[in-house]
Amino acid sequence: MATVKDFRNDVRPNWCPGCGDFSVQASIQRALAALGKEPHEVAIVSGIGCSGRISGYINAYGFHGVHGRALSTAQGLKLANRNLTVIAAGGDGDGFGIGLNHFMHAVRRNMDITYIVMDNQIYGLTKGQHSPTSAHGFKAKTTPSGNIENAIVPAQVALAAGITFLAQGFSSDVNQLVRLIQEAIQHRGFALVNVFSPCVTYNKINTYDWYKEHIRNLDEIPDYDPTDRAAAMKMVVETHGLCTGLIYKDEHSVPYEDQIPGYREEPIAFSDIHMDPALFEKTLRAYA
């Protein structure tokens, strides 16, 4: 059985020392090993940005595509091979800026994939512009007198779009994050794990300490019921999205793949694609 070491490679991340994304990478590796996955059974599809490089830092199949489209690529991959564990990953700009449209539709399509967002509320790779999750008033290179747009609250958007599994983690709490990622992968349907993953270089406001001060940890609320969608929405609104833990889970989720008429158990990638001549003739007769 594969160990955490098997999911590591020798590529040194180009992340700054102290970047929250190191913890996310380690948590994915630990979660995969804990679930008994083998590296070749896993594909990480990532977007563009600092965090998008993550697909190259994990020893598994990896696809690093175009900005904002990790989710659509990941869904295509899942359709080609439903046996793969498909994890899409990227940053808040990739997922909730340029890729928000795809996020909303991936949520409602509910394929059995996991989406891990490293949310640092800033554009890091392009050196410090505000992001869709930057707060109102936030000063960045492109908001020198303070952000006059309101921030997207990813958890709220996800619930509104009808997500079947929603969790949030924090780079400082790796144990919780590993558990959440494991549950997300095991969930039958689309799962979002939004991780508060501080950028130590360009975001001097939303620091590790700032998150520690503002986050409410749902693990510490004994009677919180993650199967209650209305309660989940209430919690997200009350905390302005700053809560961690399992926020919502639909235990009756049926993934997209299970509802495709005629879709087979055998992955398309490894099935015979030659058409039965009798079926071909039958099909032609509709035009005769």
């Binding site: 098997d6 696809f63 690093h64 489209r69 690529t73 359709l79 080609a80 091979n81 990638a269 005769a288």
Partner: protein, 484 residues
């Protein structure tokens, strides 16, 4: 020309007009709605067809509305026929000869594309609805359940192509279909497919552009976009079927080429080809062969250690590297749109960049796909008429009429734009006194491509039409005659 006498029709001098009281006869048979049946009868008279050949289809269509309706419709056909005959409308020169007994199909180009994709083993089709491409996804969504395939109606064309790329990377034969506006949105992803060497097929059913343009009208104005629309430089193939039958076979070819060269393939049709229903030869499954190119069998890799890196972008003489599908043990590798090394790991050093760019571009260097240009007609022609896509019929007819008038005419049709068939096209026009390039656009894109790629001829001119309608044979004929 047959026209309803009710409207006091007139016609140009060279057109013979037969005013037939279509509405009046139809009303006399029971209802004005049957005037199409009256004109059908009148047309049958011109073509020398007996009216009883319509009985079967009239019964089939109208029997559920009752025997009376069937009789009224047959009567309308008969009376139209009789009226036309009395006008002297039975014209021997228009009489149809009996056809050889052959099996035929009746379909449009989009139907044939869907069938071609099905036969070629396409199993994932993400697409966003757009005229005139939507029929392709609609057709496959009905047929895929029988073969285990899936159509996803995506949120936009960017998702459509990036999803197809994900599926193709995953080992499926995947494609999408769109029109000009969607093609514009797909450009970044086309670059991704080129850079990651992912075999994917994009069907572009051209319509009138730019912007929303003429969404339901004919145009051939995406040629330059298909060839040059993406940023950066990638190997790419562009195929241009011209007939319904070719719409079927081209899909087999497109998937084979995509997987052989591991690059995006654009199949371009135009609205007239995609949407015109026409009599089509019976299609043959054996005309589509499946060749998946260089894919490593899982058994070859099974014993490799867990940290073995598969060289997905191995430098080879041909530039083509072996593929492996995710899920295969021993095949682990990284894929990225960032410049990368043989293992797929990012590497932006000048030496690596030059080496990998050269590797990718080498795949298609010097390649000309066989059959990219088809020439018919006379040797040493007074005029060679060059066309692309659905103009194949009108050009053939115009060339035939020129020959009847004693001119020497050749028809040169282009069936692939990339790799640009320089040698084939040069050879096809070399002996012509004049060349006229016929295309449905305002700027002469095909003609520009010919000179861009170095196809030379001292006397080349354009016949352009960009009013949203396809060429009529007479337009091409008159233009060529005027050149003589």
């Amino acid at each position: 020309m047959i026209a309803d006498a009710k409207f006091n029709p007139t016609a140009p001098e060279h057109v013979r007009l037969f005013p037939v009281p279509l509405t009046q006869i139809a009303e006399a048979c029971g209802s004005a709605i049957m005037k199409n049946m009256v004109s059908l009868g009148a047309s049958a008279c011109v073509l020398g067809l007996p009216v009883d050949i319509f009985t079967e289809v009239v019964v089939e269509r109208f029997s559920r509305k009752g025997q009376k309706v069937v009789e009224q419709n047959m009567q309308a056909i008969e009376r139209g026929y009789a009226y036309m005959r009395d006008l002297g409308g039975a014209l021997p020169e228009f009489a149809l000869k009996p056809a050889e007994p052959r099996r035929h199909l009746f379909m449009m180009g989009n139907d044939a594309i869907a069938l071609g994709a099905l036969a070629a083993g396409a199993r994932v089709m993400p697409a966003y609805p757009i005229t005139p491409a939507s029929d392709i996804m609609e057709s496959l969504i009905r047929r895929f359940p029988e073969v285990g395939g899936v159509v996803v109606q995506t949120e936009d064309e960017i998702a459509a192509l990036t999803m197809a790329i994900g599926a193709a990377y995953g080992g499926a034969r995947a494609f999408t279909a769109t029109s000009g506006p969607g093609l514009s949105l797909m450009m970044e992803a086309i670059g991704l497919a080129g850079m990651t060497e992912t075999p994917v097929v994009i069907v572009d059913t051209q319509r009138g552009g730019p912007s929303t343009g003429l969404p339901t009208k004919q145009e051939q104005s995406d040629l330059l976009a298909a060839l040059f629309g993406n940023h950066g430089e990638i190997p790419k193939i562009v195929l241009n079927p011209a007939t319904t039958e070719e719409c079927f076979t081209v899909m087999g070819k497109a998937f084979n080429l995509a997987e052989y060269y591991q690059c995006p393939v654009i199949v371009m049709t135009d609205l007239a080809l995609s949407l015109s229903k026409q009599t089509t030869d019976w299609l043959r499954l054996e005309d589509i062969e499946i060749d998946r190119g260089l894919v490593v069998a899982p058994e070859e890799l099974a014993d490799l250690p867990v940290h073995h890196e598969f060289k997905r972008y191995a430098i080879t003489e041909s530039g083509i590297s072996p593929r492996v599908f995710p899920g295969v043990k021993g095949g682990l590798h990284h894929v990225t749109g960032v410049e990368h090394m043989e293992t797929g790991r990012p590497n932006e050093t000048p030496a690596n960049r030059a080496k990998m760019m050269e590797k990718r571009m080498r795949k298609l260097r010097g390649v000309e796909l066989p059959g990219s240009v088809v020439r018919t007609g006379d040797a040493q022609p007074d005029v060679a008429i060059v066309g692309i896509g659905s103009s194949i019929g009108p050009i053939a007819e115009a060339a035939a009429r020129l020959r009847q008038q004693g001119y020497r005419a050749a028809h040169v049709h282009v069936h692939a734009l990339l790799p640009f068939p320089v040698r084939q096209l040069q050879e096809a026009i070399a002996d012509a006194k004049q060349v006229v390039v016929v295309e449905n656009n305002a700027t002469g894109q095909l003609r520009h491509l010919m000179s861009f790629f170095g196809v030379e001829h001292p006397r080349v001119s354009s016949l352009l039409k960009f009013d949203g309608t396809p060429f009529l044979p007479v337009e091409i004929y008159n233009h060529c005659k005027g050149m003589m």
